[in-house]
């Protein structure tokens, strides 16, 4: 957030739309981390959001971890950590 103009420093990601109150935003962060942790388990990855740090922590089972602050980068980062492509349509 820019102190002078009150605008966020970068344009919001489209997934931020529809979440006006801080409460809704926080809930959405926790929910996304929960869903990601579940769908990423077959890839050997886990996801965690502490609600305080800016970004989502993605970790491999061997301990490598990355904080993703840009929602647009999340799937590319997941594929890099997993070492393979992720297809949400594959069972």
């Amino acid at each position: 957030m820019c102190n002078a103009c009150g605008y966020p420093a970068r344009a919001g990601h489209w997934t931020d739309a529809g979440l006006d109150s801080p409460h809704d935003r926080l809930r959405a962060r926790f929910r996304r981390a929960e869903v990601l942790a579940r769908v990423l388990r077959p890839l050997g990855l886990t996801a965690h959001d502490d609600g305080v740090t800016d970004g989502m922590v993605l970790s491999t089972l061997s301990g490598a971890s990355v904080i993703v602050t840009d929602p647009a980068q999340i799937w590319a980062t997941i594929e890099r950590l997993a070492g393979r492509a992720y297809d949400p349509l594959a069972g």
Partner: protein
């Protein structure tokens, strides 16, 4: 929160489809807009014809979807500055060059952190020449890309083509882009479409069949999971999903989501009684409704 961004319409269509003619009539009929004319060639011709516009910006010598992209961004930023300084600009119409892919322009608009705050894309109107359109579609993929990116398709010069040819072309357009609103116009004046009772024309083999499926969004689906799923889907399959459109429930109210390939247009909040809820229309190269539904269910679980 009121959306004060400046409405912007992209006007596309093949070379000679009648873009300037159509726009000229709309301006004559009272449309108040600043027009940006893009010409792929070095010499601008069309701006001379658009004297009734509130203002005209000419971008010549490069197509706004590729090598003229920076010029377009600069022109739009300067218009945004003028408006912020108090210049009354009611609306912007971007007349693309005949060789532009509107989807690429939509992406440039969405990717620019300044433009995304100043402009609201209200539609992509693509004109299709009723006389030559069929040949253009048969010849190449660019004309097809233009049609696929449209939210409204207007058949032009229908007075010069046979009703059978028009019906065939219209049926083809419906196959290529079932979501776009189809109408017809002669020299900019809306005319009724003839009966659409023809079979679509066979298209080049390089073009894969485009079909639309409607995906029901389960009751109580939460936006956080749904948006995560959409982002995964677009990341993995965005190049094969041509358009996605739907109204979903979010904590702040009803939200209109629209995408063109991998680009998501800034979502818009809708009033409580507009549009259909809990449906996602998916247009792409044979999207598999069952697989999409199962995949969404895994995210929503």
């Amino acid at each position: 929160m009121t959306d004060n961004r400046l409405p912007l319409i992209i006007l596309g269509g093949w070379l000679g489809a009648g873009k300037t003619t159509w726009l000229r009539h709309q301006l004559h009929a009272g449309l108040q807009a600043h027009v940006i004319v893009n010409e792929a060639a070095g010499v601008a011709v069309d701006d001379a014809l658009l004297s009734q516009a509130k203002g005209v910006t000419v971008l010549a010598g490069g197509c706004a979807c590729c090598n003229g992209r920076d010029d377009l961004v600069a022109a739009l930023r300067s218009l945004a500055d003028r408006r912020s300084a108090g210049d009354a600009i009611p609306e912007i119409i971007l007349e693309t060059s005949g060789l532009a892919d509107p989807a690429a322009i939509i992406t440039s608009l969405a990717d620019d952190p300044i433009l995304v705050r100043h402009f609201r894309l209200t539609g992509t109107t693509v004109l299709v020449d009723a006389v030559n359109g069929a040949a253009e579609l048969a010849a190449g993929t660019l004309a097809i890309q233009q049609i696929r990116a449209a939210t409204a398709l207007i058949l032009t010069k229908t007075d010069a083509a046979s009703p059978t040819a028009i019906a065939r072309l219209a049926a083809t357009l419906v196959v290529l882009n079932p979501l776009a609103i189809l109408s017809a116009a002669v020299a900019g004046v809306a005319v009724p479409l003839p009966a659409l009772n023809a079979a679509p024309m066979p298209l080049a083999l390089t073009t894969r069949a485009v079909t639309a499926v409607t995906l029901p969004i389960p009751k109580g689906a939460d936006w956080a999971s749904l948006s995560l799923w959409l982002s995964a889907l677009l990341h993995a399959h965005g190049d094969r999903l041509i358009r996605l459109k739907g109204v979903v429930q979010t904590p702040a109210g009803r939200l209109l989501i629209q995408t063109v390939r991998r680009t998501v247009q800034p979502p818009e909040m809708l009033p409580a009684d507009l549009g259909t809820d809990d449906m996602l229309a998916v247009i792409g190269e044979s999207p598999d409704a069952a697989a999409l539904q199962a995949s969404l269910a895994r995210f929503l679980a």
